[in-house]
Amino acid sequence: MIEATDLTFGYRRGQPVLRGWSGSIEPGEIVAVVGASGSGKSTLLYLLGALVRPWSGSLRIGDVNVERLGDGDRSDLRATTVGFVFQDALLDPRRSVLDNIVEGAIYRGVDRGAATRRARGLLERLDVNVEPGRRATDLSGGQAQRVALCRALLNEPSILLADEPTGNLDRINAAAVEGVLREQAAEGGVVVIVSHDEALASRCDRTYRL
């Protein structure tokens, strides 16, 4: 599903953050990426999510050569194939829980009615006990992260990329989020988790160390 060869990328010319990373992830796998701060874990995640093009190396998602895609094609790929979960949930605090979840459908052009129905279903499935009309700013950390998971799953992505998804959560909420990620992998999706948590990494199918 994902096959990367010699991926190199950096933010400043001549100073690569990620140097020659290779790896492959199959459907149904849940993979952890661990490493010290600044080792390029998040950068790798965003590269795998086609947010940017690598400086060099090749990246294949399914049968698509990502490194050759233009910005529009990569946006289409993210809208249809990739779901992101960010470390701090990254919800829009000024807007409702429902608005935050259905945002993922807007750029794909999905009708709001259909997106709303699916969002309500995800809130139930992930056991998020909040009013859909409640403002995101009123949510606890665990609730916010689960709402972010709902948003990432809204478009039924085949690849779920999670950046420190349990980093700010207590044990119970962390277990709940991990459970959803496992469920996603069990349904045939690719799940990549960037984490400092060695225990979480040890429970994944494979671990890449940077």
Partner: protein, 366 residues
């Protein structure tokens, strides 16, 4: 292996709806844009109202001074202007009034005292000169000025040479106040020959038309011994005033739009800078650069529409209150549309900057 993704058929409707929700959520930025959009047409229309009043006042003054007057002068050795021309000219379309004046000669009061005072025959239709006293033909009328000069002793004084009897008073309004230096002798005699005829037209636009018809009113023989004087300098000055006022209006509108565009650009830029992680998130969720640009520009459009609508109506009503009537709606509407268009265009640059910002840089947690 493919190097492209099957094109996604994106619908713009969800994006338009999203822009309305974002506009509502970002109330501070939207409120500032709304206020600026309100201020532009309101100020333009308010200042336009004041300018229209000032312009009208200047034109009234210029027109009073003489841009609307034509003077026909007998230039021959003998007086060539027939008195009947006054009535004929007065019947022309666009003529406000006509005054015919005979030659000037000096008279003195029979009683001792006083100085020589000019007197002239007078024939007019509709002129701003009012007479009071006897209606006896051939009587002389004095103004306050000419009465002082001639040293009038009593209402029934006699003036020499000619034995003219003073029978009443007259008062001349603008622009004929210079006649108050004279003693006037109104005359309806057809045989009277005039030294000059002053014609005032209702509007400066009639001057050329009336001048073209004067020759036939005066008579062909008389035309050769007359000169027709108008006030080209005043007419040019009038046009120059109009041009200058219009130019200032245009400069003002452009300056206001420029300032409003710059402010909106700064406000939107600051807004996108504060929400840069939001833009990174949207990119991660699959938004294209084009979608983000449109989202920001639509986010400017909605408050600009509301603000410009309110500002246009307010400015239009203010303009109506200054003018005393509601002017045509086309100009206020055009100003409102221009304001909205300018502000949305002003948001294009910060929108493009926000859309092309590197999502990785803004999404990484330090």
């Amino acid at each position: 292996m493919r190097s492209h993704v099957p094109p996604l058929r994106r619908s713009w409707l969800p994006l338009i709806a999203e822009s309305a929700r974002v506009t509502w959520a970002a109330r501070v930025v939207s409120g500032l844009v709304l206020l600026l959009a309100l201020a532009v047409p309101a100020t333009v229309l308010g200042v336009a109202g004041l300018n229209i009043e000032a312009q009208a006042a200047i034109l009234r003054r210029v027109d009073e001074i003489g841009a609307r007057t034509i003077t026909i002068i007998s230039t021959g050795s003998e007086l060539s202007l027939p008195a009947g021309a006054v009535e004929r000219i007065a019947r022309l379309d666009g003529v406000a009034w006509v005054v015919g004046l005979g030659p000037v000669f000096d008279v003195r009061i029979r009683e001792p005292g006083g100085g020589p005072t000019p007197v002239r025959a007078y024939r007019a239709r509709g002129a701003p000169v009012t007479f009071s006293g006897s209606t006896a033909a051939g009587g002389a009328f004095l103004s306050a000025t000419s009465a002082r000069r001639v040293g009038l002793a009593g209402a029934y004084s006699v003036l020499d040479p000619g034995g003219l009897r003073v029978v009443g008073w007259f008062k001349a309004g603008e622009p004929l106040t210079s006649l108050e230096a004279f003693i006037l002798v109104p005359s309806d005699e057809d045989a009277l020959r005039l030294e000059r005829i002053i014609v005032a037209v209702e509007d400066v636009g009639w001057v050329d038309v009336v001048v073209e018809n004067l020759a036939s009113m005066i008579g062909t023989d008389a035309t050769e011994a007359t000169s027709i004087e108008r006030s080209p300098a005043l007419i040019e000055a009038r046009a120059a005033v109009l041009d200058e006022v219009s130019r200032r209006d245009r400069v003002l509108v452009l300056a206001l739009l420029g300032v409003a565009m710059a402010l909106v650009s700064v406000v939107i830029f600051a807004g996108t800078l504060a929400a840069r992680r939001d833009f990174g998130r949207r990119r991660a969720l699959g938004a294209t650069r084009g979608q983000l640009t449109v989202l920001v520009m639509l986010g400017t459009l909605w408050p600009a529409l509301v603000g410009a609508s309110c500002g246009t109506v307010a400015g239009w009503l203010y303009l109506g209150s200054r003018l005393g009537y509601l002017p045509d709606w086309q100009f206020p509407l055009a100003v409102g549309i221009l304001a909205v268009f300018a502000l949305v265009i002003a948001s294009a640059l910060p929108a493009a900057v926000a859309a092309t910002r590197d999502p990785l840089r803004v999404l990484r947690v330090p």
